[in-house]
């Protein structure tokens, strides 16, 4: 019983983004996390484009690849301008690990099962990242330009979350 409960708690932590549970973050760490979160979603999109034949899913994946690439390009330009070197950290590593596990899980699926799992994960992933942006990354950011980029990023990713929910509703 206790083991079952602990598994449930662990699963819940994963879902709610335990990757973000950590102490006060610095700007170089925040930049690294935001960039990593974008790259991971690009990789997820690439997997979807390689596997899915669903028109809506493919269009969504193309949007993710295009938007996250554009935002990350802006992020790189900003860190260069600010002479900040993004710093790897526990949150980035946990996100990367979770995404690798998700990719491995999705790799085993095909057709409609893949589409559903990919889009469900996109909804959950954007929820997690948006929650972290709102409650941790944006409030912790020191530099105003970084904060502003994160705020715009949040609006973009909230749009993605809604877009993913719309695609998800069509798959049901």
């Amino acid at each position: 019983m206790f083991a079952k409960l602990m598994t449930a708690v662990a699963a819940l932590c994963l879902l709610t983004g335990s990757a973000f549970a950590q102490a006060k973050l610095t700007d170089p760490q925040i930049a690294h996390i935001a960039y990593t979160a974008g790259q991971l979603d690009i990789e997820a999109a690439k997997q979807a484009l390689a596997k899915s034949k669903n028109k809506d899913v493919r269009a969504f994946a193309e949007d993710m690849e295009r938007d996250h690439s554009a935002v990350n390009k802006q992020a790189l330009a900003l860190v260069k301008k600010l002479k900040v070197t993004p710093e790897d950290n526990a949150t980035s590593q946990a996100l990367t690990k979770q995404a690798a596990a998700e990719r491995a899980k999705l790799a085993k699926l095909k057709g409609a099962a893949f589409d559903k799992a990919y889009v469900d994960n996109e909804v959950a992933y954007h929820k997690t990242v948006n929650g972290a942006l709102e409650t941790q990354l944006i409030p912790s950011a020191n530099n105003d330009e970084l904060k502003s980029l994160l705020q715009t990023g949040l609006k973009i990713f909230q749009g993605h979350e809604q877009h993913a929910e719309m695609v998800d509703a069509k798959l049901k």
Binding site: R66, A70, Q74, K155, G159
Partner: protein, 105 residues
């Protein structure tokens, strides 16, 4: 008046005339995922221009299906309004972006 001058005068006049009879040009800026102004009033025949200042692509997609414009990053898209009525529109890529064009006959 030389023939050339006359020609120029006619050109200028016709330019003025067509300008006064010309429909209005309404500009809507898209900046940081916000359509501004969020509500515009126009007339049939007017042109609406969406000017995208973001680094990502957006759309101006009518909820009633009348029009669907892609506005690339740092690009402008134009639409000549053909039908009267209030049209709610949104961005297909970021459905949290919403606005409205009200078109008078």
């Amino acid at each position: 008046m030389t023939p050339r001058r006359t020609h120029l005068t006619i050109l200028l006049l016709s330019g003025l005339l067509s300008a006064s009879a010309h429909a209005a040009n309404i500009q809507i800026t898209i900046d940081k995922l916000v359509y501004a102004p969020a509500e515009v009033s126009a007339k049939v025949g007017d042109t609406v221009e969406w000017i995208n200042k973001d680094v990502i692509a957006h759309t101006a997609t009518a909820r009633n299906g009348d029009w669907d414009l892609m506005v690339g990053p740092s690009k402008t898209a134009r639409l000549v309004l053909k039908k009267a009525g209030a049209v709610d529109y949104f961005c297909k890529f970021h459905p949290n972006m919403k606005a409205r064009v009200t078109v008078a006959p």
